[in-house]
């Protein structure tokens, strides 16, 4: 499907959003397209009569047949995740008609605190709600606002506005515009003022769900609003708007890592909502009953549930919390309703087969035998008016009815199934969010086994005296999966005799084996149970119990690179053996150094330390630390996962010394990957280059060039800097491609943004800010060649120059004796070069030059010809020869005359002096 078709179908699907028509700019913003591309698509669609367009500017486009099609569509949708973001204004009735589950138990304190905050004198306090996905954060916020509104002494008059920041998270601009409002003309297409949520919630409560999705700039605007009651609409440059409101934020994330500390502090009250597994059994029953009842209401039929199923719902591990419980119940109800339609029963009964497998996994076969006969009626409360959306039940019933009138065609059964499938799919996508957080290797384990093991965590967590969690169950799961595959594929190879594990673990293994047998009919032989005991024992190395042994540190650039890599490795190895240290890009090397140093001191790494690092300055950090602390430290650069795992494995055995761990890790560098997937051996190292650009290549580019050349540190003296011109129209520079061949292009700096391959562009302004050139420093650091860096020929030292130059001069002169010339001239060059600040290279050039010139003068005198002429270029220069210059040079000319009988014409003297003076500016 072409992009244009995809966009078209997307527009049609959500025609509700576009019902007022739309412009190319709006479409571009929504689909993150270039505006001209969007405009092209729209024109082409309008030509094919797929869209209608208005005349006048800006052109607005409409979906044809919008009205009917659209209405039907939105009625069918139960949860359209892709539907456009909407904020709801909820108007509460005087009376609270709902009972809030847990208000007297698990959530009593939370609700009391929340109420107190809302009614706090003057304006009320801002609240931040946190908790896992699906625990009911937005529901609680709504509830708080609802009871607050109902209290007779309530001062909060205005509406309660809710919005989920995730809805616009892919477009921060739009998100901010939605929250703070947009001023007419803020961008192309903003043709009228848009009222933001803040304005709507003025004098009331604004609830922002998933507040961590706000970009930092938005968070800043929020805390400014909280502090001063002032905010600025998008595009409003001259006027601040005023608003007074209570902010309730909600997030699933760890507070500290996702919210700006400044904003976090503004939330006076931070409430954490417990996950479903920490709520009471009674509350869970209430939830089940509540959701069943509301489904029954929608069906308008008697709904029954088998006891067995009811138990399953009450028991299973439900990581997605209340949200998941609700969608699992809805899925079960939909399936049961489908069966009811097919079988033509009087009532709907939820049976074992209607229930999702993860719900069933908590039940044993035994329980099924006993319970599945009895079912209970869910008493549905009085139906309270028509429901706002068409439910799956009425869709199905209608389809069925149509089909009956139509002499029941088999195709209609299919379409019914499709409708249900679609429905289930939507519900599932809601509950699948939680899977994102699970490591991907759980996919290797079959679901029944995985579910059983997960539940075993739940059952045995308190039983076992040692830590028992996902760390162990994943390991056990991977092993048992292998065991099952092996036993079904081929005769099982017998296990070697193992020494007995500790009684503690053997007992645990026996319990687990029994559980697995009951649950998933997995029969383990005694030898496997013994192995299981070992597996549990080995994955349960208590933290901090390790004494001695090599410490492994992982230090890498980036906010969480090291901790993420260490997390995986430690998880796989079942022990916190890798110590990660993150080095955020904003952090100076010195700070990281101190962190690592402190870490080492705390950990007492007497047996030696292996430092695994990525690139740059970190490569040499180990050596400095070793000197500093007097501890043996070895470093391996370019760290990768195999190295990390191998280092961890070897370091787990405390008897292994540093050398062993180091060697094993080093050799793992190329392990595990097929040859053709490995990177090529590094080619010849190219000289690094920074290019400075501006529109002329002479103004800013030249300034930047000079400034950068000056700023480069000694360790970066291989870096070349080039100033070039960027064409103002094409923004293209073939020069860059030329450079790319010869150099390692590490950055483009300047005033004209240049997108060239992957070379980072740094605006000149960024360099001029206080800590501005840190990005450039970072780039220089990470590209600094290791081991054998590119080096220009080592610079000549003075001594060498004095030895070599007379040899070279000897080759090109005919009359001058280079050795006597050297004897006379070198002492003078000391003084002259100090005065003009020549370096050795310039000194060499000037020395050779004068030598050669002297030779030509002698030759000219011998043949009685004219002296060598002064070159035109030097004549043209307006460099003045001053008294001071003459004083510096005169002794040399005098000595040449007295000792070599070589008199140099005054013009030539002057031009020589001018040439020498030029050097200073080089």
């Amino acid at each position: 499907m072409q992009k244009i078709d995809r966009i078209y179908s997307s527009i049609m699907k959500q025609s509700g959003k576009w019902s007022g028509g739309f412009t190319a700019a709006e479409l571009a913003a929504y689909f993150q397209l270039d505006r001209s591309t969007a405009s092209r698509y729209l024109n082409s669609l309008a030509k094919k009569n797929k869209l209608e367009k208005t005349t006048g500017k800006p052109v607005r486009y409409f979906c044809p047949t919008l009205t009917d099609h659209d209405k039907n569509f939105s009625q069918h949708a139960i949860h359209d995740k892709t539907s456009p973001p909407a904020s709801n204004t909820i108007h509460f009735s005087e009376q609270i008609d709902q009972h809030f589950i847990g208000a007297d138990e698990s959530l009593k304190m939370v609700i009391e605190k929340g109420m107190a905050a809302l009614f706090y004198p003057e304006q009320g306090l801002h609240i931040l709600l946190s908790g896992e996905t699906g625990v009911g954060k937005s529901y609680l916020a709504e509830y708080l606002a609802q009871i607050a509104a109902a209290k007779p002494w309530n001062r909060i008059k205005a509406p309660f506005i809710t919005f989920n920041c995730a809805d616009y998270a892919q477009n921060p601009e739009l998100l901010m515009g939605h929250i703070f409002g947009i001023k007419k003309g803020a961008f192309t297409g903003a043709e009228k003022n848009e009222v933001g949520l803040v304005e709507q919630a003025n004098n009331g409560i604004l609830f922002l769900d998933e507040i961590h999705r706000l970009p930092p700039s938005g968070q800043e605007m929020l805390f400014y609003l909280i502090d001063k009651g002032l905010y600025r609409r998008l595009g409003d440059t001259d006027k601040m708007s005023h608003a007074k409101l209570i902010l309730i934020g909600a997030t699933t994330e760890t507070l500290e890592s996702t919210l700006l500390p400044t904003l976090l502090r503004r939330f006076t009250l931070k409430l954490s909502i417990p996950p479903l597994r920490e709520r009471t059994h009674k509350e869970r029953e209430e939830f089940l009953t509540y959701f069943l009842k509301s489904e029954a209401k929608k069906m308008k039929l008697p709904l029954l549930i088998e006891d067995y199923c009811r138990k399953a719902f009450l028991k299973y591990a439900c990581p997605g919390n209340i949200g998941q419980l609700k969608s699992d119940i809805q899925i079960s109800c939909a399936r049961a309703f489908m069966r009811h339609l097919q079988e033509g029963t009087e009532q709907v009964t939820i049976q074992r087969n209607d229930i999702p497998s993860q719900v069933l996994s908590s039940m044993t076969r035994n329980e099924f035998e006993v319970d599945h006969k009895t079912s209970h009626l869910v008493t549905s409360g009085k139906s309270s008016g028509p429901l706002p959306i068409q439910t799956i039940y009425s869709i199905l019933a209608k389809m069925k009815k149509d089909a009956n009138d139509d002499n029941f065609a088999s195709s209609s059964e299919n379409s019914m199934k499709t409708a249900v499938d679609h429905y289930l799919e939507e519900l599932k996508s809601l509950s699948e969010k939680r899977l994102e957080s699970e490591p991907s290797w759980v996919r290797f384990i079959d679901h029944d086994l995985l579910d059983a093991l997960r539940d075993s965590e739940f059952y045995f967590k308190d039983d076992f005296t040692f830590e028992y969690g996902s760390k162990q169950t994943i390991a056990i799961g991977l092993h048992l999966e292998a065991f099952r595959q092996q036993s079904s594929d081929a005769p099982r190879s017998s296990l070697p005799d193992l020494p007995m594990a500790k009684p503690l673990y053997r007992k645990a293994a026996a319990k687990l084996a029994e559980f697995l047998q009951n649950r998933i009919q997995l029969v383990l032989p005694a030898s496997e149970i013994e192995l299981l005991a070992h597996l549990i024992a080995s994955t349960t190395i208590p933290e901090n119990k390790r004494e001695g042994g090599v410490l492994v540190f992982l230090v890498t650039h980036g906010r969480s690179t090291a901790s993420s890599m260490a997390e995986v490795t430690n998880y796989l190895l079942g022990s916190p053996i890798i110590h990660p240290v993150d080095m955020p890009l904003t952090e100076a090397t010195g700070v990281t150094y101190k962190k690592v140093r402190q870490f080492i001191v705390d950990q007492d790494g007497k047996s030696g330390i292996l430092m695994l690092v990525d690139i740059g300055s970190l490569v040499t950090m180990g050596e400095s630390l070793s000197h500093d602390l007097g501890i043996p430290i070895k470093t391996l650069a370019n760290v990768n996962m195999p190295m990390l795992i191998e280092a961890g494995r070897k370091a787990l055995i405390t008897e292994n010394d540093l050398e062993t761990v180091y060697e094993a890790s080093r050799q793992a560098f190329f392990a595990l990957a097929p040859k053709d997937q490995l990177p090529e051996q590094p080619k010849e190292v190219k000289q690094r280059l920074i290019v400075t650009v501006c529109l002329t290549g002479e103004g800013t580019a030249q300034l930047l060039h000079d400034w950068l050349s000056e700023q480069l540190r000694a360790e970066d003296n291989d870096v070349a800097v080039r100033a070039i011109r960027i064409d103002p129209v094409s923004h293209d520079s073939t020069m860059l491609s030329t450079f790319q061949k010869q150099y390692h292009l590490i950055a483009i700096v300047g005033t004209v943004p240049v997108a060239f391959e992957n070379v980072p562009y740094i605006p000149a302004l960024e360099l001029l800010r206080d800590d501005g050139h840190s990005r450039l420093h970072r780039l220089l650091e990470v590209t600094r060649p290791l081991g054998a860096p590119y080096q220009k020929e080592k610079t000549l030292n003075d001594q060498e120059m004095r030895e070599l130059a007379p040899v070279g001069l000897g080759k090109i002169v005919r009359h001058l004796n280079p050795v006597s010339y050297a004897k006379i001239a070198f002492p003078h060059y000391e003084r002259i070069s100090t005065f003009y600040q020549w370096d050795t290279e310039t000194k060499l050039g000037m020395w050779m030059h004068l030598g050669s010139l002297a030779d030509q003068i002698i030759e000219a005198r011998l043949v009685h010809g004219p002296d060598p002429a002064v070159p035109d270029e030097l004549k043209e220069l307006d460099t003045q020869v001053t008294e001071r210059d003459l004083t510096v040079w005169a002794p040399l000319f005098a000595d040449l005359e007295s000792q070599l009988h070589l008199s140099i014409d005054l013009h030539l003297q002057h031009s020589l002096i001018v040439l020498g003076k030029q050097q200073k500016s080089a």
Binding site: G697, R722, A723, I724, M735, T738, K741, Q742, E793, T795, L796, E800, M801, L804, A805, V807, G808, L809, K811, I812, T840, E841, T842, L844, G845, M846, M848, H849, S852, L853, Q856, P868, P871, D872, E873, L874, L915, Q918, Q919, S921, A922
Partner: protein, 105 residues
Amino acid sequence: MSEPIKLIILCSWGATSSQLAVRVQDAAKKRNIDLQADAGGTGEFKKKASQYTVALLEPQVRHLKKEVTKIADANHIPCDLVDQRAFALMDGDKVLDQVLGLIKQ
């Protein structure tokens, strides 16, 4: 047959550069490399840059490197300072190596 390499060695007086050019020419002849080495001032180079394949600057005109590099870049020819040791020794062979290295890049 490929084009001959045309090298220009720059200094402001033409004194040492012409000598060095001769040495590079000799070295090329010995190695059977098709090369033509000229010496010249920077003023001349400005006018004729496009004729050359590669340019080298002697140390005493190092202050002109920026200007020369710009001209060279504009004509897409590599340019560099003559290697200091090779210059000190007037070593045509070594300068020839440097020239070949520059072209290869």
